[in-house]
Symmetry: C2
Subunit: 266 residues, 2 copies
């Protein structure tokens, strides 16, 4: 399948530590060698670095591991291809402009029998993955539901995305990260977890490579940083696991919506 | 103002030589220190590297100068801000998806009294430059004229873009590069030139820094490579100057439409 990584922070923060762990899974400690990508938001702007080669060997990934880009929202993905060949146009994250913001999306999982559901709307896929088609379908549905301008209250937009994600989950595995540059949404189909780091900060040790960081030396007491990943990236911290159907919405590192599917059933 | 650089080639070709010359103009031989960007198409996919810092000092620009990415279409821009602050969201090139392709655009010039004309349509600007608003206006007009699916014959699309560019030129200076990943269009308002290199290849010497290349060692006899720039990048080759109102359409390095405004008046 693939692996996801994302970050939401209340101050511009670099993700070099977490990305260093993830990149190892692209060819060293994991089989996700079919491309990788990472999107950094800086204010309303965003930039995406991507490569169809394995993250553990990519020149561009080496830059990301050595050059700290400070960002409040990051979305990243390493790919093990199932639907769609290995190519740049099939490499996540995908970005589209809606309502004057860049929306960025990455997917882990695999869908079946989706062609009819995802028939082209206003947003069209450039590559041939199930993932990008699902993204374009979600974005097209948002325009149908909320119109041509951004609604004053954005939270119902993410609640609607969660409804759409529930529909998509009936077609297979759909772990998803979505951001408009302010909010960061994670939707869990089977594998997704997160950790929120805040003072007092401690040391963290990567699972995939022998790197330790002392966050206390890198942060101020006011910093709040949430990291989301398919599987925990560190071995000495308490990652919160999401259950199937759970979704979380973060802003500036803090949890804004904490939807638990189990609680709804109980 | 700014400077533009673009390339169309019939084989995947790296633009390290030309970009090395352009990047010098971002702080060393030129005043364009307010950001830079470069978009590479690889098949239908594209990736954009951009930075709001000067190209002559940027870590990311160093990567582009040292790591040859082979591409059939490249669009690049170095910025000297006039409209819109120095920020990532105001950094060219800009990209939007239309008809299942990524369209990439960069602008050199400055417009006035454009707010009413460029009022938001289906595509909306994320930053606050005149350039991005003009791009979104063009893209919105393409949907109005040609509908939701790509027309079978794409050439009328570029002819219509040229009409729109003529309209925009009445508001100021509008030198433009636009590509859908196959075709590369250049529209001239005052400063734009190009060169088509083909066998027999020779040596070329950059104007802005002491670099010489022998294309003969880098190419095969079948290669055709067109480079477009605001001002010639080499001192020993014959660059073709575009006149105001001229526009050119290239595909695979070859000139497909050669529109000369003078010829139309004569």
């Amino acid at each position: 399948m693939c692996e996801l990584l994302a970050m939401s922070a209340n101050v511009p923060t670099d993700i070099v530590f977490s990305f260093t762990g993830l990149a190892e899974r692209g060819g060293v400690t994991g089989p996700h060698v079919d491309g990788w990508g990472i999107t950094f938001y800086e204010g309303k702007g965003s930039r995406t670095f991507k490569d169809a080669s394995p993250s553990s060997q990519s020149h561009v990934a080496s830059l990301i591991k050595s050059y700290p880009i400070k960002s409040e929202v990051v979305v990243s993905h390493i790919r093990q291809a199932n639907r769609g060949e290995v190519s740049l146009e099939n490499t996540h994250p995908f970005t589209r402009e809606l309502w004057g913001r860049y929306w960025t999306y990455a997917h882990n999982g695999q869908l079946s029998d989706y062609e009819q559901k995802f028939q082209s709307g206003r947003f069209q896929a450039v590559g041939d993955t199930d993932s990008e088609q699902a993204f374009c379908w979600i974005m097209s549905r948002l325009v149908e539901r909320f119109g041509e301008s951004e609604p004053e209250d954005i939270l119902p937009v993410f609640e609607y995305v969660a409804q759409l994600a529930e529909e998509i989950r009936t077609l297979g595995v759909f772990n998803m990260i979505l951001s408009d540059g302010r909010y960061l949404m994670s939707y869990c189909s089977n594998n997704l977890c997160y950790i929120t780091r805040r003072a007092p900060f401690g040391r963290a040790q990567l699972i995939d490579t022998d790197v330790v960081i002392d966050f206390d030396t890198q942060t101020t007491p006011k910093d709040v940083v949430t990291v989301i990943a398919t599987r925990p990236l560190t071995g000495n911290e308490n990652w919160q696991l999401l259950a199937p159907g759970d979704w979380k919405l973060f802003r500036l590192g803090e949890l804004v919506i904490d939807f638990r599917a189990q609680a709804q059933l109980g």
